[in-house]
């Protein structure tokens, strides 16, 4: 009889792991709370550094999990340790006894309206990075004018922010801001584009090239300083105040659209899952790995594994690599216990 593996979360970590685990010959169940697979990445337009279109990527990932049993709009109601492994009760009424469980529940985008001074949900032309990607995917958004003269990006919205309760760097926002700034400049060559940052954390393959291109080839203005407040002018534009810390002067600009780079926060659902499965939460609020060097994909409990942003902020390549590693670790674990 095939052994059962349950994967919680149908984002890119869950999809990649499902493919690998299924290919290794296990009966694989994928449980996703929303009505579609692909997670946050599915709603993104293109991915850095090679500007790969997201839709075909996700489509390929989904088509690669034929044979995996997928439960959409389903949550885990309970996890109980049993002799064979874990018994999971799902919200669709199905119970599964699994020999191993992979948690790939991902992250939650910071709710930008919590940074009240930026006026998301108050001023007509303030949007988030996710809103901009949706617009690039063809969704209409009246908050983005037909011909903007000036566009701003605010880095670290809800990231590295103790007052917002999230002290972690989200890793991908700096690079996403640069990617989106370039994309906007390509669409609106006459617009001035500003990036307001506190540090630029660009560590990945080709990231530095992107940054140089943004300045040299696209003329994007990088302002080292936090935005202090946003307000609306009488003609409906945005007045943005910031400090340019490199020249030591306050700065005030008028923009047509302001994009807030909402950071990654731990998924609030993991708190419930952690209680159900008796998993530990780390000091950063994410799930706690056995250790953060060589066993990041292993939980403190036998037979429960992690992949992706449930243990911390991750890039897409890191997430996919972790998913593959988790699949192999589960395989080795089951071989040892066979």
């Amino acid at each position: 009889m095939k052994q059962n593996i349950v994967i919680i979360g149908g984002g890119i970590a869950g999809l990649e792991a499902a493919k690998q685990i299924h290919n290794l010959g296990y009966q694989t169940f994928l449980v996703e709370k929303s009505d579609h697979l692909g997670g946050h990445v599915a709603s993104w337009h293109r991915l850095f550094p090679d500007m790969i279109a997201t839709k075909p990527l996700i489509k390929d990932m989904i088509s690669a999990i034929k044979g995996v049993t997928v439960f959409l709009e389903t949550q885990v109601n309970d996890v109980e340790g049993v002799r064979e492994g874990y018994r999971l009760s799902l919200s669709n009424g199905i119970n599964i006894t699994a020999q191993a469980v992979l948690v790939a529940s991902g992250f939650q985008l910071f709710e930008a309206q919590r940074k009240e001074e930026y006026g998301y949900g108050i001023y007509d032309h303030v949007i988030t990075n996710a809103d901009l990607e949706a617009w690039m995917n063809g969704n209409k958004d009246q908050r983005i004018p037909a011909a903007p003269k000036a566009i701003g990006f605010v880095h670290c919205v809800g990231s590295r922010d103790l007052k917002a309760g999230n002290s972690q760097c989200s890793k991908v926002c700096c690079m996403t801001a640069i990617k989106q700034a370039i994309e906007m400049k390509e669409r609106f060559p006459n617009a001035e584009v500003y990036c307001f940052y506190m540090d630029l954390r660009l560590f990945g393959k080709k990231y530095e090239d992107f940054y140089i291109n943004a300045q040299r080839d696209f003329g994007i203005h990088f302002v080292r300083g936090r935005v202090s407040e946003v307000s609306e002018t009488i003609d409906g534009r945005l007045q943005v105040k910031a400090e340019d810390t490199l020249i030591g002067r306050p700065l005030k600009v008028q923009l047509d659209t302001l994009v807030l780079m909402s950071g990654m926060c731990c998924n609030p659902l993991i708190q419930k899952l952690a209680e159900q499965a008796r998993l530990e939460i780390d000091s950063d609020g994410f799930l706690k790995s056995r250790d953060n060097i060589t066993n990041i994909i292993e939980s403190g409990r036998e037979g429960i594994f992690f992949a992706g942003a449930c243990t911390g902020t991750k890039t897409v390549p890191e997430t996919v690599a972790e998913a593959r590693a988790a699949a192999l670790s589960i395989h080795n674990y089951l071989l040892q216990n066979d």
Binding site: Q113, G121, D124, E229, I234
Partner: protein, 356 residues
């Protein structure tokens, strides 16, 4: 502007305000700047609304001006505050309402500091005992007096004789609301509506028929800024901040400004004359300035009090344009008559800004 978004924020920043029995403390400076405002607060709350508001002549300054001017240490200010609380305790009250925004900020800061550092509270209690053999309970509720008028705004509306509506056009009057910096910028959850989009004055304006203007420099300091003005060499910063605000609000053509801080109405009012002298520019209609009011003065006008009993003749910027729009009856000849009808004499009128 998305009104729903503001309403969501306002819903997050509501505070419990008991309906009666308040211990009241005055501001150090408001009686000099806008002499009838505190009197009007007591008149409205006690005689119009029938509330129990207790006041004692034994209270002192909270030390706020000295504290924010860096001339006394925090422990000294805290000990003065402890004495104020002792007077409240001795009078048998547990709800405390200061008239001054800076005092309110100081009280909040002190209570929050004591909550974080109980050992400091113990030391202040010891200081107070050594200084004057007094003991105190901390207030159960702390509210600024504008919180109370906000709390009773709809009761005032029910008794209104005039509304913030243009008598000629029937349109809502366009009102700039300016919140004192110490009201909620330090502790957003202690103010009605929070720090970024405070609702305390906006709620009054809406209840009394006016329209609130949200302009780009709404959050900016009035110009007082304590050391910006108190240090004489810095006064250029003070007037330039005020100038920035008026330049920003000018396109919205405000009919009036409502404030809840001792310093703000003073500087927004007086600096309009200085700006007019320096630049020749005025921001109201037909060479007038934009009249600036305290919330008690606006409440008094809404309730039908004589504008000269509200002390409006002591404003630098003429208030008559707003009185005319609201349809408030007034006797121009009585403007400079004292309570006993004695002639107070006329102030010298400037040429740079039109005054009545």
């Amino acid at each position: 502007m998305i009104k729903d978004g503001k309403q969501k924020i306002w819903a997050d920043y509501q505070k419990e305000i008991p309906d009666d029995h308040w211990y009241y403390v005055r501001s150090c400076i408001r009686q000099n700047f806008f002499p009838a405002s505190e009197k009007m607060f007591l008149e409205i709350t006690r005689n119009v609304l029938g509330k129990d508001i207790y006041e004692t002549p034994h209270h002192t300054t909270c030390g706020g001006i000295a504290y924010h001017a860096d001339t006394i240490p925090q422990e000294t200010a805290m000990t003065m505050i402890a004495r104020q609380f002792a007077l409240m305790t001795e009078a048998g009250y547990e709800n405390y309402c200061p008239s001054c925004i800076t005092s309110f900020g100081n009280y909040v800061e002190t209570l929050e500091t004591w909550r974080e550092f109980p050992e400091l509270e113990a030391k202040i209690r010891e200081n107070l005992w050594k200084a004057c053999k007094r003991e105190f309970n901390k207030p159960k509720y702390l509210a600024h007096t504008s919180d109370l008028i906000y709390h009773w705004r709809d009761e005032i509306r029910k008794k209104a004789k005039h509304l913030l509506i243009n008598k000629e056009t029937g349109e809502p009057l366009r009102i700039v609301e300016h919140i004192g910096c110490h009201y909620s910028k330090m502790f957003p959850h202690k103010g009605v509506g929070g720090a970024e989009y405070p609702y305390v004055l906006a709620g009054m304006v809406e209840s009394w028929g006016g329209q609130v203007i949200d302009y780009p420099e709404r959050r900016h300091c009035c110009g007082f800024g304590f050391r910006q003005y108190l240090v004489k060499a810095n006064r250029g910063y003070s007037v330039s901040n005020t100038h920035k605000k008026f330049e920003s609000m000018e396109p919205y053509k405000p009919d009036a400004i409502i404030t809840n801080c001792p310093g703000c109405p003073y500087f927004l009012d007086r600096w309009q004359y200085v700006i007019a002298e320096q630049t020749g520019k005025t921001y109201g209609e037909n060479g007038y300035g934009i009249p600036v009011f305290t919330y008690e003065e606006i409440a008094g006008l809404v309730l039908g009090y004589d504008p000269w009993d509200l002390g409006l003749q002591l404003h630098q910027v003429a208030v008559e344009p707003l009185l005319n729009k609201m349809g408030v009856e007034y006797d121009p000849k009585a403007k400079y008559l004292g309570l006993n009808k004695e002639d107070l004499m006329r102030p010298e009128m400037p040429n740079s800004i039109k005054c009545c």
